[in-house]
Subunit: 257 residues, 2 copies
Amino acid sequence: MKVFVFFVAIAVAAWQCQGDDHGVNFQVFPLRMKSGLGGHYIPEISCESWRLGVETHNIIEFSGVPKDCIGYIGNYLVGDQYRSDSKTVCREAYLYVKTLNISNKDAWVFDIDETALCNLPYYADQGFGAEPYNSTAFDEWVFRGVAPPLPESLKLYKKLVSLGIKIVFITGRPLSQLDVTASNLKKAGYLKWDKLITKDPSYHGKTAVIYKSNERRKLEEQGYNIIGNIGDQWSDILGTNVGGRTFKLPDPMYYVS
Amino acid sequence: MKVFVFFVAIAVAAWQCQGDDHGVNFQVFPLRMKSGLGGHYIPEISCESWRLGVETHNIIEFSGVPKDCIGYIGNYLVGDQYRSDSKTVCREAYLYVKTLNISNKDAWVFDIDETALCNLPYYADQGFGAEPYNSTAFDEWVFRGVAPPLPESLKLYKKLVSLGIKIVFITGRPLSQLDVTASNLKKAGYLKWDKLITKDPSYHGKTAVIYKSNERRKLEEQGYNIIGNIGDQWSDILGTNVGGRTFKLPDPMYYVS
């Protein structure tokens, strides 16, 4: 394979770095979808590049999935790649944990929606992020308390628990959803935790970064040592008191600042 | 398309969130390469997920491209997607800049290798990151001074210059490579800049995060207002004084801490 790559490279690397003024190669750039439905053309942006841009925090504060990418994102979320991408993140988290000497003060912070629990059965009916956020409909879904786990997150959770690591859930869900969230977590297989922190009304109008940073600071003041922190939003893992290492799970559906 | 996605979703979203103990679906997870050579199986990890893990800073301090992913990464780098992914990042950077009122103190920080300049003609001969870093061979390549520009980065550079934004290059290259780097930049189309900062020997043994943070702090002490900062390594954009917004260009070949 090395040899093959070498020859490919000699042939192509030269023009790969060149601009549009250097021949035909970049006339194919970058507007053909390589995934999703039909491989049709999209002006301005490739859906795969859009998703990478979201996951790398280059594309921020987006209001929803671009209309032209609905099919691509839907197929991603119901296909193998979303699971594979999640598995890779959780695997790295576990490889990191195995390098540590765990103490009884060590804690791991989990976000809930699209991190511990999977709302795909709800979002599947919302165009996988294409529809504007509907708080009424989402609350109805939450109060059903039937969200399944994200399986790779649940596997990580079980490994962390077995190592004696304290589990803390910090969610943007309100206090009014605390009980149903706790029962949903148990039903999904998250059987125990140290704390389940919901968003207090005092944070109304504050960003998730501010809310979650402040709650993590309080945890550390209480003596917890946050060794890790995992979420699907950058706002779960940016800010202060982020923990020894942070892990970003994929979520191309929505953005929470 | 919405309707299609809806039906796909109903059929699949239910099991998408379920674990390995729920039937056959996850027996295909996640080990088939969807890209790269031959779509053969790889234990433990999909190369596409590995690349996403690198770009999202979930996978850190890796010593090279996994052997099983050499073909996949090589094809990515010489194919459309690398260009498309770079274009999307630079496009977001420009969309951000257009929201600002530019003053004559505003500066944009560029990294050089795999950001302003493209070393693919060199790395193509090194298995695209599969071979261990060879400083002698890389220095020989650098001193040739013939690295082409990354075309999307050059387009962004030209737009920033046209807006009167000061350009500062901060590179991990040493002072001994300052002259050849300056001439290479000009040859590649980067015709002017305010500062070109190379890594001083006093930073020997220090990480790129420390070196680049300290140089950015000095820039701000000199009165520059860093409105943006773009690099291919997370160490280009993490740390302090990172700028108004940071942008991460793709680079699955190597990791600089």
